[in-house]
């Protein structure tokens, strides 16, 4: 097949859109921490992006999409991008573009995990952890779902990475928070977000970039991409209003709640975007807003310092999205039936895929975090934490 300019142009654009989401996560999180850790929080996302970009071309892509080894991981045939051609294959675009597109997904997954490290991580230990996590957690999970691993064989549907990116990173953040421990003073006094408008701006970048994330995952400029684009927006909108309403019911309609709800809706529609219609996306987004809001309240009640709620929003939102895909999938959109159309097997396959990824991500992250903590030490010293990571890790002030 010759190169399809429409598809190639759209995938180039979508790749750039998804790239913007990683700093978007940084700004979203950066606004939520205290000012003394603002630079640190944004910098972690940039560092992740640079680090994972290199890891991806050296061996990450190959571990995810190389020849299957036991359904678990790819081999190293594509290490250093060897054998990745420039000729448009059957898909109508060069394989190198697929490498770029998948690479920006790997980066944002690790960026989401930074939530569990907020305001207390030692930079050197973080870099080692990020490299281990993207290699031993993200790459296998990407292989399971998209690289010919067992989840794709079982028939678990994950259109754009609800399981691979969001369940994995959300539950990883929870595991990290449990190993690294609470921020000094957590639960004794309030740690108010220092800059809500910055968080709103980050959310805007995420919502915008998510069109590339989901509509790009059609891997073509076609009607599936258009459907994904539309349901992505509607689910985000429903999630935003649902969380806004829930927080209004309990007090003030917080803008932070609204954008958290939007992200919850975006997360939940991610695995479903190519399989459900617009009507279903309203339900998926609205329920996501409520579930994630409830998860956040639960997290606070338990006194868990998973500081910026990656677990509540990405972990639980992703889990709901995986189930929702198995419930709402309709033949008319993507050719798959879900529970509503009487296909229990799809629901089961999705639940199995999601729960397996959840357990794998959580357990392996616990082990990795524990190892890094015992060797380099994940945390900064008490004094460094007190003056803030901006000064102590970067020698800069916001």
């Amino acid at each position: 097949m010759t190169l399809d300019t429409g598809t190639t142009a759209w995938l180039l654009t979508a790749t750039a859109l998804v790239m913007l989401m990683t700093p978007g996560v940084g700004f979203f999180y950066g606004g939520l921490v205290r000012r003394k850790n603002f630079i640190s929080m944004v910098a972690l996302s940039f560092i992740v992006f640079a680090l994972v970009s290199l890891q991806w071309v050296l061996f990450g892509y190959s571990l995810s999409f190389g020849g299957d080894i036991g359904g678990f991981i790819g081999n190293l045939d594509f290490a250093g991008l060897s054998g990745i051609g420039m000729e448009a294959g059957d898909a109508g675009y060069p394989p190198l573009l697929f490498v770029a597109f998948q690479g920006v997904f790997a980066a944002i997954a690790m960026a989401i995990v930074t939530s569990g490290f907020a305001e207390r991580v030692k930079l050197s230990a973080f870099i080692l952890f990020a490299l281990l996590w993207t290699t031993l957690v993200y790459d296998p999970l990407a292989h399971w779902a998209w690289g010919g691993g067992w989840a794709s064989v079982v028939g678990s549907l994950d259109f754009a990475g609800g399981t691979v990116v969001h369940i994995s990173s959300g539950f990883a953040a929870l595991a990290v928070a449990m190993v690294i421990g609470k921020r000094s003073g957590f639960g004794q006094y309030s740690m108010e977000p220092h800059n809500i408008p910055m968080t709103l701006l980050g959310a805007a970048l995420l919502w915008f970039g998510w069109f590339g994330f989901n509509a790009g995952s059609a891997l073509a400029a076609n009607s599936i991409a258009v459907n994904a684009f539309m349901v992505t927006n509607i689910s985000a909108a429903a999630g935003a209003l649902a969380w806004l309403a829930a927080s209004w019911y309990r007090g003030k309609p917080s803008s932070l709640g609204m954008v958290s709800g939007a992200v919850a809706g975006l997360v939940a529609i991610t695995p479903a975007a190519g399989f459900v219609d617009v009507g279903a996306s309203i339900a998926i987004g609205a329920i996501a807003g409520l579930i994630c809001y409830g998860a956040m309240l639960f997290r606070l009640k338990k006194g868990l310092d998973e500081s910026l709620d990656a677990w509540a929003v990405h972990g639980m939102g992703g889990l709901w999205g995986a189930f929702a895909t198995g419930i709402f999938a309709t033949v008319a959109i993507g050719g798959y039936s879900g529970l509503i159309e009487g296909n229990l097997n799809q629901f089961i396959a999705n639940a199995v895929g999601a729960l397996a990824a959840l357990v794998y991500a959580f357990v392996v992250t616990l082990v990795l975090a524990y190892i890094v903590d015992r060797t380099l030490g994940l945390r900064v010293s008490e004094e460094e934490e007190y003056v803030g990571l901006d000064i102590s890790q970067h020698g800069e002030r916001a």
Partner: protein, 109 residues
């Protein structure tokens, strides 16, 4: 009348506010400040050398009270602001000549 000027850790502010409230003292002015004490800030050691953070963020609370209340309120502030570590802050007591309420012109001295 006296002014109690307390420079404390920002994260102890809520506790001090509550302690003052429990003593019946509601009015106060609070401002973020930076400063250092005898230790000249905090020094962080790195392989590449030392970074000295010499001005540390603090919060300054000012309350104006009757002479008879001064000791009671100072005790309350100390108790609420204390962590026992270096950097808990200082309290100063200053004389105040007059206090005027802007809305009513009511004076106290």
């Amino acid at each position: 009348m006296k002014m109690i000027k307390a420079i404390i850790r920002p994260e102890r502010l809520e506790f001090v506010k509550k302690a003052l409230e429990n003593q019946g003292q509601y009015g106060m002015t609070v401002m973020p400040v930076e400063g250092r004490g005898d230790q000249k800030g905090i020094s962080l050691q790195y392989r590449g050398g030392a970074i000295i953070v010499d001005l540390i963020p603090k919060v300054q609370i000012e309350v104006v009270v009757k002479d008879a209340d001064v000791d009671r309120l100072i005790n309350a502030i100390c108790e609420a602001a204390k962590t026992g570590k270096i950097g808990d802050g200082r309290i100063f007591v200053l004389p105040v000549e007059r206090s005027i309420k802007v809305r009513t012109g009511e004076q106290e001295s």
